[in-house]
Subunit: 258 residues, 4 copies
């Protein structure tokens, strides 16, 4: 039999000691936020408190978007058959793909392409963005992260960019994203505002996170929302009901503020 | 066709407005922690900052436990076949069941049974716990959340209980859990210390969360850990390798402190 | 490290030789039907040709039931997000639970309970069935496998029972199922005809298959149907469409006969 | 609300009538094989009896390949945590990807590319194959479906080709596959025999099935095998055991023949 010994750099477990990326988990508890530990788990080093706040805000921004997204409908449909919670959640996660949640990764790709142009040839953001938008247009490809079927001015985008500024996270990729919005409007004569996926993409680029992890942030953010929908389905709805994908109304708490 | 109109109390979506349980999501961003928003999504009301800190600590406590748990092995095995990230994560979540992660829910059930006894008959914690432990023993049933295959004194348990105290979360269910540990030692002549699942169970009982949501906390906590293992598999390991479930060593950052 | 050596009785693999339960797979190919090899895989021994025909008929009976079952809706919803085929199928399979597909297992349980009564006390089918139906009624429990939301006389049930007779599969559990139908009508004053799940349950009992495997037959049967729905979604429908769970019409080939 | 009416060409359901692609399912039961109904579901028309036999042989060929493939290990790992059968199976299906099962689709792509060359330019099989193998070599791409980590002369390949001949399924794509094997040996100086995935690819091309459905045949075939492994795990093994991916031995029925 071949030698199957292998190595991993994530966790070290000893009796009465659990370390994540070198830190004792019990030391991290109560000291660092969930956003910080997510970054630590994925990037390998502990981020500043501000980065943790930024990640928390990213996660809060995408915690739920109602009952119409396919991930919520999938999770509710599975739940209605009597499935355990984790099966319904796994189903919901299987619906997070290129066309639902995947815009973050694709948009990060576009932002990084612009950045590559800037670095390689020492050109300005507007010049690089003009090139990219033209290139995409020539091959008939959409730039992900711009435009939304419901929102024309996504309040979550505005807040993410405000926080990136006040928390001193960075402005380079946000400037690129805004320039793409401007250039798209110029070339297409139609406004396609940066949506929440595009805004998250810019923030994750500022944080030097890999596009391969983009979907992870959407999944981590959305999981509690999916749980809420599954729990509501299990406790409030008739089993095996036919779930209309649009014909529902909100009857939760009235509008309120912090 | 039947009328398929239905109601949901989780999210309200209007153009340029996304509300979770009545609150504008963009207002929540930057103001409340991920732990608070998880509670808001699942319970329907915004918790205190302390409760948010407690939930963050619960989530941090279970973020990962190395490469041997079946959820990590499942996610890595699927990833090794060339699967996209979400498929590997969905697989990992399917491995979170009665015997892995499920202890939280079962332990909450036991703690709530003791509490029922106390309330119904105005008896003391030790009397109620003695009854419960005896009842379980008679039917040959284990009480979940006690004992661990590796840890004899789980540092995460100690920290969760310290935080529950300093954050003024409550002490009733923690006292019950500790009494069960004492009673198990007395009846069995063998120490079965409260493990991290048992400690989380006590904390979630203090927070009046439903046992039906216990597994959700484990899934939310563990998801970033699963992503870390999948990403490591994808970027560091040979595709289609045979993954030994134990024969690995840690080669990540050296021990360090905050 | 502990010795992890383990044993399995399913397949033996050597260079240029693949054996299932002792038989060379290449010898089985072309000689035995898929129904026979399913039985061989699950029970460990090769069944008669007639049993193979019966299993093929069971699988054909449940290959699809249109686009309204939750497994089909789940698979289509996931497919609409750009998921690969296997993710959509996995989602569909997660929707096969107690309330969808699960009736076979529950009905087998009821049929075996009646059989236990008969064997233990040498009583007749009608006496045993009367007891069981009364017992279920007293605790307010439905007997699975009887009644259908669409069909009053399921043609698949009729054919399964005809085939069980002509293929000499057995008649004992079918007689029990028919007696339950009679008794339910007598006690409730309302006809709840044996549905296809109930009929499959009776057939699987005749074949001495474990109720723990009941769901497997439904999943094996339905998988090609789920693939057909996913493929249709991928090739015919607009991505990310809202999928109405009922408001569709059939536009495939006209009615035809063999 | 938008009009969500949609159309589907797979099943027509009326009270007491279930039709698949126009045929009454109860008429199909007992008259056509599972292989035939799979083809009917996926292609829309009833195939000849010989095609049904060929598909049955394809399904039998891939029903299982022991406990080392990642789909089996995934399903067993999930099962060991106390998961229900369908969750373990869904997990196994999530492990059927590009590198496990996916070779059929990729090989079909290569065979169809050769066929395109032949049709477009009226060239011979050897000339077209020489071109393709050279093209793949130049870009450093493997042709899927050739070579096996265990088998040097896969008996399932031999049998599939024999059956394709005796059942008069076709010989064109099989000839292409064999020529690729010859050309690979010539160009690389090393024999990479057609494996079972390559042989299935050739057969599915003869049957004019879409490469997009290739993975479906692997999933349909392998599902009973996965069920067998899950059932064995549930009934024979200790829950939560560490599952060694290779260190097992076969202890099932001794070698036997039909």
């Amino acid at each position: 039999m071949s030698d199957l010994h292998w190595k991993t750099g994530i966790c070290k477990i000893k009796p009465n000691e659990v370390r994540l990326r070198g830190y004792r988990v019990d030391e991290l508890m109560g000291q660092i936020s969930f956003g910080q530990v997510v970054y630590l788990a994925l990037k390998g080093d502990l981020p500043s408190e501000n980065i943790g706040k930024m990640i928390d805000a990213v996660l809060v921004s995408s915690i739920d978007h109602g009952a119409t997204p396919p991930s919520a409908l999938t999770a509710m449909t599975i739940a209605s058959t009597g499935a355990p919670l984790n099966a319904a959640i796994a189903g919901g996660i299987l619906a997070i793909n290129k066309l639902h949640g995947g815009a973050i990764e694709d948009c990060m790709g576009a932002l990084l392409q612009v950045d590559d142009k800037i670095r390689a040839r020492q050109i300005s953001i507007p010049v690089a963005v003009n090139e990219l938008v033209t290139e995409y247009k020539e091959v008939g490809r959409r730039i992900s992260g711009f435009g939304h079927r419901i929102h024309t001015e996504d309040p979550r985008t505005i807040k993410l960019f405000q926080l990136a500024d006040s928390l001193k996270i960075g402005s380079h990729f946000i400037a690129i994203a805004k320039e793409i919005e401007t250039e798209l409007a110029a070339q297409r004569g139609k406004r396609l505002p940066i949506n929440v996926d595009g805004a998250i993409a810019a923030v994750l680029c500022e944080l030097e996170l890999s596009p391969a992890l983009a979907n992870a942030f959407f999944m981590i953010a959305r999981l509690p929302g999916l749980v809420a929908h599954v729990h509501e389905e299990q406790t409030r709805q008739r089993p095996m009901r036919a779930i209309h994908p649009e014909n529902h109304e909100y009857d939760g708490p009235a509008d309120r503020s912090l």
